[in-house]
């Protein structure tokens, strides 16, 4: 009976249509260099306002999956990765294309993405309910520790500067405190504006930081690029058959997807790390490792199947614990909040059909991705020729209208402008976005659980260390922040010692 309801929810004409629209839009955005997965998901948010919650989620997830795949196309045709997760695809995809095998490289990237996505969806369906049943036993101290872990992982894995990551996380938490606090109704940082009573709206912030700020960043590049741009490689029809790909490359497909699935569940890792590991593994286990970097089909398959295999498993911590796995999933969490859906273990018992329809929809999305990739690849490949200048006014209009439609007030358009400026300066100064966005969406949840825990313990902070799960998460959090610092210090010492020994 429930299975029938789930199928009934997924296979409505409207949902199937929206899935295809989202996928197509996601692929197009992914194809355009400079516009990434987070942008694709953020820009889709305004379109979900008038939709049913599950339809809106399908649109968001479709653009997410589409943009991950779309990023492979400029990697192959332009020698420029569409997303950071597609960097490894450039190494073999671009030489293949320049050697007259662009169609083969595009087909391999499509098959890799679809297989990775399907395996990832199966893993989500298998593991999420199990983790949710374990998480039902979690209390406020555990959820507080988990929120800290989610943020620390984002800071530690943001790369480069831990201090900048910390600044962004603190900034995100500060933004989350604006408005009336959930525990005793204190009005905070409202500056006399009733518009801020319910806080700064996450959607306006995300559209400002991810979409509008991109217009300012890209404006300089557009003017410079117009002086001379590299021409994309022409599309050539693929000569590879599916049978040939599965028969000769099934090991790479399965192994790389497995790597993506496992690593994808770790918050904030994203698609780049599994893609690099899978590529490295494929090269190490290959009979012809010298072919890698010169147009090896296994290189494209390894990279694409691994990064796509993270697409569904990044949803595991979101759906079961309410902790976003990366910045794009943090935008999804914003969409959940907009639709009054509270992710977490209770979601599986309270809205079982909804959550299983969401997970089941991911299979359908990957099948549609295969169909769109097969039938429209030539047209999609031509998108790499679209001048970015046309997109800029479109992004401005879409972001402004999107921020307005959240609450039908132009105040949110002002918030959008303000955060676009903040986003521009953060990008210009190398401040990472994921810690900010994850801290902002988790802020209220973190503070509420912190205060509830203190009420339970009558003000004693020992409650976080006497409960094993909470203590374990706090220790891992400290480790994820300290490890990059310690390893950098050790590496520098080693380098200095080696330099001394040489001289």
């Amino acid at each position: 009976m429930e299975l029938a309801s789930i199928f009934g929810t997924i296979f409505t004409l409207q949902n199937l249509f929206i899935m295809n629209v989202g996928l197509f839009a996601g692929i197009l955005i992914g194809v355009l260099p400079g516009l990434n997965v987070v942008f694709a998901v953020a820009i889709m948010l305004p379109f979900t306002f008038g939709m049913e919650s599950i339809t809106g989620m399908y649109l968001m997830l479709a653009s997410y999956i589409g943009a991950i795949y779309g990023g492979a196309i400029p990697s192959i045709l332009l020698n420029t990765p569409g997303n950071p997760a597609n960097v490894m695809t450039v190494f073999d995809g671009s030489p293949m294309a320049r050697g007259g095998r662009a169609g083969d490289a595009l087909k391999l990237s499509l098959v890799g993405s679809v297989v990775g996505g399907l395996i990832s969806s199966a893993a989500l369906l298998a593991f999420a309910p199990m983790l949710a049943s374990v998480a039902l036993a979690f209390g406020s101290p555990e959820f507080f520790a988990l929120s800290i872990f989610g943020m620390c992982a984002a800071i530690g894995l943001a790369g480069g500067n831990i201090l900048k990551g910390l600044v962004m996380a603190i900034f995100g938490l500060l933004v989350s405190t604006v408005g009336m606090d959930a525990i005793d109704g204190t009005q905070r940082f409202m500056f006399g504006s009733p518009h801020l009573l319910s806080g700064v709206r996450t959607v306006a912030v995300m559209l400002g930081m991810f979409a509008l700020s991109e217009v300012f960043v890209q404006s300089r590049q557009i003017v410079n690029i117009s002086k001379g741009n590299a021409a994309p490689v022409e599309y050539q029809k693929s000569t590879l058959t599916l049978r040939h790909i599965f028969k000769n490359h099934w090991r790479t497909l399965l192994r790389s997807s497995g790597i993506g699935v496992v690593i994808g569940t770790i918050p904030s890792v994203g698609g780049s790390v599994p893609s690099m590991i899978a590529y490295d593994r494929a090269k190490r286990t290959s009979k012809n490792p010298d072919e890698y970097g010169k147009g090896c089909p296994d290189g494209v398959l390894a990279s694409e199947s691994a990064n796509s295999a993270t697409s569904s498993t990044t949803l595991v911590p979101l759906l079961t614990l309410g902790i976003p796995g990366d910045a794009a999933v943090a935008v999804l969490l914003g969409a959940f909040a907009m639709q009054n859906i509270i992710p977490g273990p209770e979601l599986f018992t309270r809205d079982g059909i909804w959550v299983f329809s969401l997970m089941g929809g991911l299979f359908v999305l990957n099948i549609f991705l295969f169909l769109q990739g097969t039938f429209f690849i030539k047209a999609i490949a031509n998108v790499t020729r679209v001048p970015q200048v046309i997109l800029m006014p479109c992004i401005v209009m879409l972001a402004t209208v999107g921020s307005f439609t959240i609450a039908n007030t132009t105040f949110d358009a002002m918030i959008l402008l303000g955060f676009a400026v903040v986003g521009y300066f953060m990008k210009a100064n190398g401040f990472p976005f994921p810690p900010f966005i994850i801290a902002m969406v988790l802020g209220a949840f973190l503070e509420t659980n912190l205060r509830r825990s203190l009420i339970l313990s009558e003000g004693s902070y020992a409650i976080f260390f006497t409960r094993p799960i909470s203590a374990a998460f706090l220790i891992i959090s400290a480790f994820s922040i300290l490890y990059p610092i310690i390893s950098t210090i050790l590496r520098k010492r080693k380098e200095a010692a080696a330099k001394e020994a040489k001289s």
Partner: protein, 167 residues
């Protein structure tokens, strides 16, 4: 890290250092209004405590940032003095335009938002869109047509399809 970025970091961490003090001693006391009955005050954690913790964290991080950046700035300046580097080549008009372009695009966005709030989306799009395209040196007529067509489609999608009223 290049010297420009190091200088920027110095400015950013200094601003954050002063900002955290301003936040702790002025913004939080004046803009976090505690209720007469705040029942979590019994546990020593009222509505102000969390922002105060964040302000302290920001102060610590900014201080660490300054401790890390100041020696790098001094080192970069010393290296510059020793190498006798030039104090900056003259910029041509194109470079200057590229430098101020983000600001100009931002002002065009402000104009769009102001017009959107006062006279509505269609007029805002009609006025601000060509300004943005001109600023970005779009030299093909059909770019303008595409942007206007997008504005029209966006308006129809929101008002007719999604039933979201737009001014």
């Amino acid at each position: 890290m290049d010297s420009k970025m190091i200088n920027r970091d110095l400015v950013t961490y200094s601003a954050l250092w002063f900002g955290s003090l301003f936040l702790y001693f002025w913004v939080i006391p004046n803009h976090v209004i505690l209720r007469a009955f705040a029942w979590t005050a019994d546990i020593g954690f009222d509505g102000r405590t969390f922002p105060q913790i964040l302000a302290v964290c920001l102060f610590i991080v900014a201080t660490l940032g300054l401790v890390k950046t100041v020696p790098l700035v001094l080192k970069a300046r010393k290296a510059k003095r020793e190498s006798g580097a030039e104090t900056g080549a003259a910029k041509n008009t194109d470079d200057l335009y590229t430098q101020v372009l983000p600001l100009l695009v931002f002002l065009a966005c402000v104009l769009f938002v102001v017009l959107f709030s006062t006279v509505g989306f269609l007029i805002a799009a009609a006025v601000a869109t060509p300004i943005i395209l001109v600023l970005l040196k779009a030299n093909k007529w059909y770019y303008y047509v595409i942007a206007y067509a997008f504005a029209g489609v966006l308006y129809l999608v929101f008002t007719q399809l999604l039933r979201v009223p737009i001014p």
